[in-house]
């Protein structure tokens, strides 16, 4: 058990009148990078939101490091060392980039108190963040917003990163940086759960993989296995290109 940082067991989620997740089982091994794939509407985002407690699971349980977090309020879950990047990026448009980062850095009461070296590292990955440090975040370009969103998640060390489609709208160069970044984070023992559409991206990073389809995990295993098996890809992801 203890080698799985996060586990979902038979999780059902309802949104309003809709029954979205139909018993999701998912394990995220500690220290590894787990990819969550699946076609549009499969329920990936809903799964992540359920993990974060933004939707409440109506059945099943979610455990983090052996602790049941199914019913915990979102702030507490985050408090346990989970960072989340939503699909919509959740940028605070009226605040400057600096202020956005400052909020993400829970320990710091001031911009000055943020971990300087870590910031430098982030700047090297995502130059835009430094360049627009004092601009209103709402004015950033689509990709720059995406960079900021990810930067926020890694501004302080966290145990688990939960990230929804980080590569969306990023230039290849930046995608490379991001891949490096996740690699380095993994080095430092961080566990990562990624939703990703860009299969090449997924292939290069993932250790383990889970594929969802209408509200359930239909395949789970090692990334390598999936990467090698064309037919499986075809049947699961319909990769025709």
């Amino acid at each position: 058990m203890n080698d799985n940082l996060l586990t979902l067991e038979g999780v059902h989620t309802h949104i309003g009148a809709y029954h979205i997740l139909h018993g999701v089982d998912l394990v995220v091994p500690r220290g590894q990078l787990t990819m969550l794939l699946g076609r549009n509407g499969a329920g990936k985002t809903t799964t992540l939101r359920t993990i974060m407690g933004l939707w409440k699971a109506s059945r099943g349980r979610v455990t983090l490091a052996g602790r049941d977090i199914t019913a915990l309020p979102t702030p507490q879950i985050a408090g346990l060392g989970v960072a989340y990047v939503p699909e919509t990026m959740g940028i605070f448009a009226d605040l400057t980039v600096r202020e956005n980062m400052l909020l993400a850095a829970r320990a710091a009461r001031h911009a000055s108190q943020m971990d300087e070296s870590r910031l430098q590292w982030i700047f090297s990955l995502f130059p835009a963040v430094e360049k627009f440090w004092n601009h209103p975040a709402g004015k950033l370009s689509g990709g720059q917003k995406q960079m900021l969103a990810v930067s926020r998640a890694i501004v302080e060390p966290r145990e688990l990163l939960v990230i929804d489609e980080p590569s969306k709208g990023l230039a290849p160069a930046i995608i490379n940086n991001m891949i490096d970044a996740f690699a380095q984070l993994k080095e430092s023992g961080v566990t990562i759960l990624l939703v990703e559409q860009n299969f090449n991206f997924a292939k290069r990073l993932g250790d383990t993989v889970a594929v969802m389809d209408n509200g359930q995990v239909v395949h789970a295993g090692s990334m390598q296995a999936l990467a090698d098996d064309e037919d499986l890809q075809q049947s699961l992801l319909g990769l025709a290109l």
Partner: protein, 326 residues
């Protein structure tokens, strides 16, 4: 906040306005009287508006019920001061303060307590929905006002200013009421306090972020809800304080007094720009001055001076003088 250190133009507005009217008024002493009185009145207005800078300016809650807390503060003050006659009766300013300060504290405490309930019952269900906020807080306003009538009765209650605080100080031919100077001191204190908490702590940021995207702030690990409650309560407490100051200024209180100032303070905030303490102060001072100047030069227009002022400012800066980019 960032506005404050960079953007000087609005700061210039106040002196510019004051100097601009000097030639029309002619008599220097009159001008001094009007100006000082206007600024002081501005300070009083700022105090009663300060609570709303938090609730409306930062939390973006259109709280029409805010006036209730102002009235509440004033009525509590009547009870407290009424119960300590000899201190209030005394001629010495210090003995008066001994009476007035606790009155303020009690008023703030009561307002805060009611604020807590108000947030829970009235405001919580409608965060982020202006229309419903307007309706439900209107309801809260009416209820509060009527409850005040039930407790203190519908009549006007006199709230005589302690003798030590009455009267005027003469500077040559110009006269300034003592009480207004007291108001200035209190106002500056409130201003400093607000400015500090909002700029030297993450509080201001968190609230503004929470208003834009609650879920994200929670996902970052902050209990935004607790924060909102806290800020709302603080806002109510400030309103209570404002009520005491306003009541003592008018020297009588009526249950409707809250409703009477409501529009005024909303105007002040709009002029100032939402969420900016500095803006609110400038807005209040401008309103105070305008009222006096127009009242002296063209009394007929006095009624409309505020609106004219607001429209003028909005034509210059549609977001108010200090808009935190919204």
């Amino acid at each position: 906040m960032k506005g404050l250190d960079l953007d000087w133009k609005p700061l210039a507005l106040v002196p510019v306005l004051a100097l601009a009217v000097l030639p029309f008024i002619g008599s220097g002493s009159t001008w001094v009287t009007l100006t000082v009185a206007g600024l002081a009145m501005g300070m009083i207005i700022f105090i009663i508006a300060s609570g709303l800078t938090l609730v409306f300016g930062l939390m973006d809650v259109l709280n029409f019920g805010h006036g209730v807390f102002i009235a509440l503060g004033a009525f509590v003050a009547t009870s407290v001061l009424g119960s300590m006659g000899d201190w209030t009766g005394s001629e010495s300013l210090w003995r008066n303060l001994v009476a007035v300060v606790p009155a303020m504290l009690v008023a703030m405490a009561v307002a805060a307590a009611i604020g807590l309930a108000f947030e829970r019952l009235i405001v919580r269900p409608v965060y982020g929905n202006h229309l419903k906020q307007i309706l439900i807080t209107m309801g809260g306003m009416i209820i509060g006002e009527e409850l005040i009538k039930v407790i203190w009765g519908p009549l006007q209650i006199p709230l005589p200013l302690p003798p030590g605080m009455r009267g005027t100080l003469l500077l040559g031919d110009a006269a300034v009421e003592k009480y207004r100077l007291i108001a200035v001191v209190v106002g500056l204190a409130v201003f400093a306090g607000l400015l500090w908490t909002l700029t030297r702590t993450k509080l201001g940021l968190l609230i503004r972020a929470g208003v834009q995207d609650r879920e994200m702030v929670e996902s970052l690990g902050y209990r935004i809800h607790v924060l909102f409650v806290g800020v709302f309560v603080a806002g109510s407490a400030l309103a209570g304080l404002g009520g005491v100051m306003w009541g003592l200024y008018q020297q009588n209180v009526v249950p409707q007094m809250g409703a009477q100032v409501n529009v005024l303070i909303f105007i002040v905030l709009i002029i100032g720009g939402l969420g900016s303490t500095g803006g609110a102060l400038i807005g209040a001072l401008l309103v105070g001055l305008m009222a006096n100047y127009t009242g002296f030069l063209v009394p007929k227009a006095a009624l409309f001076s505020n609106i004219a002022l607001m429209l003028a400012v909005l034509l210059w800066r549609p977001q108010g003088v200090y808009a935190l980019s919204r």
